[in-house]
């Protein structure tokens, strides 16, 4: 493009064309990130369920910390692959998930500190809390990118979180089926909307 002077009409046309072009080029929130976390949770839920069920050892539930692996992977990926263009939408989504991620770290730390002070650490609350955090994060993302499937499907996943919170005070041990419910929730909250989002982007 040469550095030529424009007349008023050409200026207006150029502004409109450039803004339209850059909007068209925005990759509206790819669903891959949701698929990464969604499938990780589904696979982990099956592994944890099978191991706890067959061995009877609740310590296998510590494998849930494996959910930090997709986080580390995406963090490393983002450091190496910076997008050519960052939209306001991208920024908003990134900031939302930064808050959610921080909330996870704070929750784990507070649970460990309280557990240390009280003599025993119980991560049972982590399952419903994780569902609530991720459900809200996914819904906000859906609202920001105007995807109703992504915005409202997590509400169905949150049903399991409500059930867990209601049932927890009356239980002595975390039922082994909760691990499966957790995976099922992520399937509803992230995997289905993630595939739906990718299908929409392909169109």
């Amino acid at each position: 493009m040469e550095e030529k002077k424009l007349n008023e009409k050409e200026s207006l046309e150029l502004i409109t064309q450039m803004i339209r072009q850059s909007r068209r080029n925005m990759v509206v929130g790819s669903g891959n990130r949701f698929l990464l976390y969604g499938y990780s949770a589904v696979i982990l839920s099956i592994i944890v369920f099978v191991l706890v069920r067959t061995t009877g050892h609740l310590t296998w539930a510590a494998l849930w910390f494996g959910m930090f692996l997709p986080f580390i992977y995406s963090w490393l990926y983002d450091r190496k692959h910076r997008p050519a263009v960052v939209t306001y939408t991208d920024r908003m989504i990134n900031e939302t998930w930064k808050v959610i991620g921080t909330l996870f770290v704070i929750t784990v730390l507070v649970m460990m500190i309280l557990g240390y002070a009280m003599g025993s650490v119980n991560f049972a609350l982590m399952l419903p809390l994780a569902l609530i955090y991720c459900g809200i994060g996914t819904s906000i993302t859906g609202l920001v990118i105007k995807d109703s499937v992504l915005a409202y499907l997590p509400l169905f996943g949150l049903v399991f979180a409500i059930y867990m919170l209601v049932a927890l005070p009356s239980l002595l041990h975390t039922p082994v089926t909760w691990h499966l419910y957790f995976g099922l929730s992520f399937l509803i909250m992230m995997v289905i909307p993630g595939h739906n989002l990718n299908a929409k982007c392909r169109k």
């Binding site: 493009m1 040469e2 550095e3 030529k4 002077k5 424009l6 008023e8 009409k9 050409e10 200026s11 207006l12 150029l14 502004i15 450039m18 803004i19 072009q21 850059s22 909007r23 080029n25 925005m26 450091r79 190496k80 692959h81 910076r82 050519a84 263009v85 960052v86 939209t87 306001y88 991208d90 920024r91």
Partner: protein, 94 residues
């Protein structure tokens, strides 16, 4: 009386750069080059002019082993653009 058009924005490439940056939060050099169809040298010169005027903010960083130059529009740039559009409207009686 017709308002004066900002000479810095009244050039095809600089106006294109500012228009793009107005609709995104941040864009890198390669993206701007693709969108505007400008040569790297020309784009670099125009980016420097806009940055010197305080219309855009330029950040240079390393991503892996490669350098990445990204641009963001500033508040001053947004205001200048708004004034420019208002001036065009007065010319076109919009």
């Amino acid at each position: 009386m017709l308002q004066e058009l900002d000479p810095l924005l009244h050039s095809q490439l600089r106006l294109a750069i500012v228009s793009i940056l107005l609709s995104v939060d941040e864009a890198d050099f390669v993206y701007l080059k693709e969108q505007t169809g400008a040569t790297a040298g020309n784009l670099s010169v125009q980016i420097d002019k806009l940055a010197a005027a305080g219309y855009i903010r330029v950040t240079k960083e390393f991503v892996g082993r490669k350098t990445r130059t990204s641009c963001q529009i500033t508040e001053k740039g947004c205001e200048a653009f708004e004034r420019y559009v208002e001036a065009i409207k007065s010319y076109l009686k919009l």
